[in-house]
């Protein structure tokens, strides 16, 4: 797609660029092969081991990545019908994320690239979530500048994206992420981990206006979900003391109401951000953008304010190798990219 290449120096060569993308920042091991902006393979191995604990256990995640990395990469290469020697570069998640998990993917990727004599490209996980919009999925691609709401289990950010390398975080959470608010609410209701998708499912038959919860007040474009979590817990515990079956009797309504509250908080900020920046191209990314209510609400709000909206296909919303590969594709064409062998994984990394 020429419109992507026009953003940066056009490549002189007319040959295709093949990049392997490796993601291992949390509990999914994923590898993808991209040919320019088209995904040839995107393979992900999840980790069921954490379900026992109701959350990701870092040491167990690192050990599982160690067992998954080679099968996932081998399968991605096989499905793309290429061999390692055909690759032009290997992109990997450098951060942010769980350090032990990141070290598996980054050490593997750097070494594989070094042995093949091709560049290893460090990728910022949160930028990759946004750049997933540019994977050729036969969907409209957002024009620059656009606003992106990234919502996942670890992050909640509104980003102004001016080009593939310029990201301004104009609003973010001060405490919990929106995905955490979903997961923790689900856990409180006794739903299995990860609870976000379960809340979405239960909420479909519930009344979203049945219960109201206090939305924390924070300044500017910031978010805060920790107060909401406490408010929700206190309410559920109080009602459970009066009726031991309260949760069971009201499950669908509780799910619909908490989901409505969280999504409304996200939409309010997005409306403010659009008004403040005057940008009408609005995108969402991250695992929580798989939430069906968030998607329908975004469309409703967009209709009201005359926005164009962009939502990546589900497989590119959750953590995946494809978004690392597309980010690598942009970075590969960046003459000033990091080529040092000593670049290593980092748990924290500013946008």
């Amino acid at each position: 797609m020429s419109k992507i290449i026009q953003v940066h120096d056009p490549l002189k060569s007319n040959s295709d660029i093949l990049i392997l993308g490796i993601e291992s920042s949390c509990d999914d091991t994923s590898a993808a092969v991209i040919k320019n902006d088209k995904i040839l393979a995107n393979i992900t191995a999840g980790q069921d081991v954490h379900k026992l604990y109701g959350g990701v256990v870092p040491e167990l995640a690192s050990r599982a990545h160690q067992k998954h990395i080679v099968p996932v990469v081998s399968q991605a290469l096989a499905q793309a019908n290429i061999s390692a020697g055909d690759l032009d570069a290997i992109a990997y998640t450098r951060g942010p994320g769980l350090l032990g998990s990141l070290l598996v993917g980054s050490s593997f990727a750097k070494s594989m690239a070094q042995a093949l004599g091709i560049p290893a490209i460090p990728v910022h996980h949160m930028k990759a979530h946004v750049l997933a919009h540019f994977i050729d999925s036969h969907l409209p691609v957002p024009p620059f500048p656009f606003l992106n709401l990234t919502v996942s289990g670890g992050h909640t950010q509104i980003i102004k994206v001016s080009d593939p390398f310029t990201f301004d975080v104009i609003g973010q959470t001060l405490d919990d992420a929106a995905g955490e608010a979903f997961d923790k609410s689900a856990k409180l209701l006794g739903l299995p981990y990860p609870g976000g998708p379960e809340i979405d499912r239960q909420a479909k038959s519930g009344d979203k206006n049945r219960f109201t919860f206090t939305k924390p007040k924070v300044e500017g474009l910031s978010f805060s979900f920790s107060g909401l979590k406490t408010n929700f817990r206190n309410f559920v515990e109080k009602e459970t003391r009066r009726n031991a079956d309260f949760k069971r009797d009201n499950m669908a309504d509780l799910c619909a109401s908490i989901q409505h509250t969280i999504v409304e908080m996200l939409m309010e900020r997005l409306v403010e951000a659009a008004a403040l920046t005057g940008i009408k191209h609005v995108a969402i990314a991250g695992g929580v953008s798989a939430n069906s209510y968030l998607r329908t609400q975004l469309v409703a709000v967009a209709d009201k304010y005359g926005w164009q909206t962009y939502i990546p296909p589900f497989e590119y919303c959750t953590d995946n190798g494809a978004m690392i590969a597309i980010a690598g594709y942009f970075e590969f064409q960046n003459k000033e990219r990091d080529t040092s062998l000593s670049t290593s994984a980092t748990a924290r990394w500013e946008m």
Binding site: I69, V104, F108, S342
Partner: protein, 226 residues
């Protein structure tokens, strides 16, 4: 003759060498107070290949120190070994870290007991016992040091404690006939001969599913109430 890249990252020392047969062609080590393996490993590997005038495609196998040791260090070394092995389509050889340390000590006397030890937390060490000719005397174990530790030592005329866990033994163990060499560290240098032996026997690990020798199962705490 087999050309093997040896990777040792199980302690704070980041150490790599290229060996041809039993001979080490080039060795590079970084011994800092902090773990810098993720930054240094690939740089040191480029260095030893250049010094030995070899290319990656000249390698026959990758040897990696399997542990026991630092989980983070082992994670980096094993993940890197897998990356090289997949790219070059060559096998991985796993070398026991403690045995490689013993090979590096060079006391060949079979009446000597070698006890390599890696510092774990508090008074704990990861250790094993080998005779001077590298036959196993006792299995790898996690030992909480006390005056009762190492009853096996009584049967030997000379006992050598070495590695970064050895410092903690002084004053705790009976001093009788024991020698302490805390400065002896894990090094890729000690891996070369052992790796070559394994190469000749085609004693390779499964590249896909190989995991470091963690020694201890990881036990997560009980799930927190939300």
């Amino acid at each position: 003759m087999a050309r093997i890249l040896c990777i040792e990252t199980s302690t704070k020392v980041c150490s790599v060498c290229v060996a041809e047969g039993d001979a080490v062609l080039a060795l590079a080590e970084d011994n800092e107070d902090e773990y810098t393996h993720a930054e240094k490993l690939n740089v040191l590997i480029a260095k030893v290949l250049e010094e030995s005038d070899l290319k990656f495609k000249d390698l026959s196998a990758i040897a990696v120190s399997e542990g026991p040791g630092s989980y983070t260090g082992l994670r980096i070394g094993v993940s890197a070994a897998k990356g090289f092995a997949v790219a070059l389509d060559i096998p991985i050889i796993a070398v026991n870290t403690l045995k490689a340390m013993s090979a590096g000590v060079g006391d060949k006397n079979q009446d000597s007991l070698l006890i390599p030890m890696i510092d774990a937390r508090r008074m704990e060490v990861f250790c094993a016992g080998f005779t001077g000719d590298l036959q196993p005397a006792f299995e790898t174990r996690a030992e909480i040091l006390s005056s009762e530790s190492f009853p096996e030592a009584k049967a030997f005329t000379k006992v050598l404690f070495f590695g970064n866990g050895a410092e903690k033994c002084r004053g705790v163990l009976e001093p009788l006939g024991f020698e302490y060499f805390p400065d002896v560290s894990a090094s890729a240098n000690g891996m070369a001969k052992l790796a070559n032996e394994k190469f000749k026997e085609s004693d390779f690990v499964d590249t896909a599913y190989f995991e470091p020798f963690y020694l201890k199962d990881f036990v997560a705490g009980k799930p927190k109430a939300s």
